[in-house]
Subunit: 139 residues, 2 copies
């Protein structure tokens, strides 16, 4: 155990996974960001004139954490060795946020297709309105 | 289209999803971080003396992005309406990184259990050695 503590002099050692979760959520993980930026998309179709549409894309840095829970007390009934290990180590508080579209709209783009009948083609395009860090929780 | 461009004066509008991917990867997404911090865990078992172990937990802000691809040209065979929409909008470059354990070790903790036979219980604990932003790619 002493060797474990080496290298941690003067640093805060958190006393439980609950504390870790609290500290992680409150102190450090406030400044995540997720930008919504414009992007030109070309709408093409054979025999039609290409049109451009302004869509948006998302990029950023969102919070994530992985905090092991205290191992569970062993079950009274002795389970198989494999099962034990799983039980003692599978549990963790974990969360990962993803900078991705939060709001969409649908737009209809009409392409001119001079030599075709009819001379128009309609396309429905999903356009990103707003991006956001969206948390993905694992069970 | 003009209304789409409003609000983007003086800002760079990216001309394709490929450019967006390049810019996103090169310019902005370098400064992600994922910390490995110490955490005290209590190893408990009924009838045994509790021991503490230094484990680690992970937290940070990792890169993620979502960039729509240019819509595909429509298939010559006319598919069902529902299928079309899916085809035109399902495609995107997307990636989300998760600050989580990269390296583990296994340690064995021996608990003293004064009134039990045998007077010791061994527990195997998975200990986090190092955390890292690990990319999760979606198909």
């Amino acid at each position: 155990l002493l060797s474990d503590l080496r290298g941690y002099h003067g640093r805060k050692v958190l006393k439980s996974s609950k504390n870790a979760l609290l500290v992680t959520k409150k102190e450090y993980l406030q400044k995540d960001w997720c930008k919504t930026e414009p992007l030109v998309q070309k709408i093409k179709e054979e025999g039609c004139l290409t049109r451009t549409v302004i869509n948006r894309f998302c990029y950023g840095q969102c919070n994530s954490f992985y905090i092991p829970k205290n191992p569970k007390k062993r079950n009274r009934r002795r389970p198989s060795q494999e099962h034990e290990d799983e039980d003692q180590n599978g549990a963790a508080f974990k969360s990962c946020s993803f900078c991705k579209p939060k709001k969409f709209t649908w737009i209809t783009v009409t392409l001119k297709c001079p030599n075709m009948v009819p001379q128009f083609r309609k396309k429905r395009i999903q356009r990103i309105k707003q991006c956001k860090c969206i948390a993905t929780n694992f069970n």
